[in-house]
């Protein structure tokens, strides 16, 4: 499977969906970017929000993509759970908003 792009640019160029600032989608759209970093699909993993204790799958997080990086927030308390910034030759992944990720794997 094709996992990574050959180069990159910060998230969105000019005119990126300029309508409502509250635009969000969900963590399903993180699948491609996280596959560059992890060997497994992390969107099916679940974790507990450090802010409110709510457990959600990564796919179910509230995802803001109209930003210099990807920011996934807890649907319960809006706290930041995960952040991913993709530079030209590096990515930064911040998972401080989740205590631990539980990742389903083949036995």
């Amino acid at each position: 499977m094709t996992v990574s792009w050959s180069g990159s640019a910060p998230t969105e160029g000019p005119g990126a969906n300029a309508s409502r600032a509250d635009e969000h989608i969900d963590g399903n759209a993180l699948a491609g970017s996280l596959r560059e970093v992890f060997a497994v699909d992390v969107t099916v993993a679940s974790g507990r929000c450090v802010g409110c204790g709510r457990v959600d799958t990564v796919a179910g997080l509230v995802l803001y993509t109209q930003a210099p990086g990807l920011v996934a927030r807890c649907p319960g308390c809006d706290g930041v759970v995960l952040r991913l910034v993709r530079g030209p030759d590096r990515a930064w992944l911040d998972l401080r908003g989740v205590t631990a990720l539980e990742i389903p794997l083949r036995p």
Partner: protein, 243 residues
């Protein structure tokens, strides 16, 4: 590097792209791809698109693109992208919003506008494996001409055993429609979905606001939140995950 093999117009604003993807490993119904476009000056942007086709084993993948007025990517893919042109594609990705044929649970599919695309992949996959799992689709559009796959859905409700489709028209109804136009509500899902005690797997896809409304209705109906899987497109259509 994928290449456009063929196109198919679905509605005045939606077009299916049939892509040849070398070394395509296959996919599950509901997964998506990230498509990246690069201009000659190096500017690039990307969008996620749900895979519309069932796994076929022939290295071809279909995406259905809805042209978004004022959009940056969809007008290119719907109008300019030509047969034999290359396009960068990443995937398949997304293991959450998927339907697996091994799951015996009945299925409720709720689509808003272009949210029908991944759900159609599920319907096509079901037919491809000869599954009898009962599927109920509730498909909300603005007007009759916005129904993507209209003919195919008509044919499938006739020929695929156990598939039922109900339409919701939010702005304009077909001739002779017994109800005025309206948005999806509890009554529609109560009548055309599965009752909660059937414990169906629910898949909801479309613009963010539609998905959140529909998911709230399913929860209010009594479905377990864990049985409801959602995929939000941006308010104007799929939005890329960046990178």
């Amino acid at each position: 590097m994928a290449r456009l093999a063929a196109v198919r117009d679905e509605t005045p604003t939606a077009r299916t792209l049939v892509l040849d993807v070398p070394d395509w490993p296959g996919h599950l119904a509901g997964q998506h791809v990230d498509v990246r476009l690069t201009a000659a000056d190096g500017y690039s942007t990307q969008r996620s698109f749900s895979i519309a086709s069932a796994p076929s084993g022939d290295g071809q993948v279909e995406l259905t693109v809805q042209r978004v007025a004022g959009g940056e990517v969809s007008p290119y893919l719907a109008d300019v992208f030509a047969v034999d042109d290359p396009v960068e594609l990443r995937g398949p990705v997304g293991g959450w919003f998927v339907w697996r044929p091994e799951d015996p649970s009945p299925v409720v599919l709720v689509a808003g506008g272009s949210g029908i695309v991944p759900l159609m992949a599920m319907i096509r996959t079901r037919a491809g494996v000869g599954s009898r799992v009962p599927f109920r689709l509730v498909y909300s559009v603005r007007a009759p001409e916005d129904v993507i796959y209209a003919d195919e859905l008509r044919r499938r409700t006739r020929d695929d055993r156990g598939l039922d489709v109900a339409y919701v028209y939010s702005r304009q109804t077909p001739e002779g429609w017994p109800r005025p136009p309206g948005r999806i509500g509890l009554a529609t899902l109560a009548e055309h979905g599965w009752p909660p005690d059937f414990a169906p797997a629910c898949f909801v896809c479309g613009p963010t606001a539609f998905v959140e409304t529909a998911a709230d209705i399913l929860v209010a109906q009594g479905h377990e939140p864990r049985r409801i899987k959602t995929e939000r497109f941006g308010p104007t259509g799929p939005v890329a995950s960046g990178g």
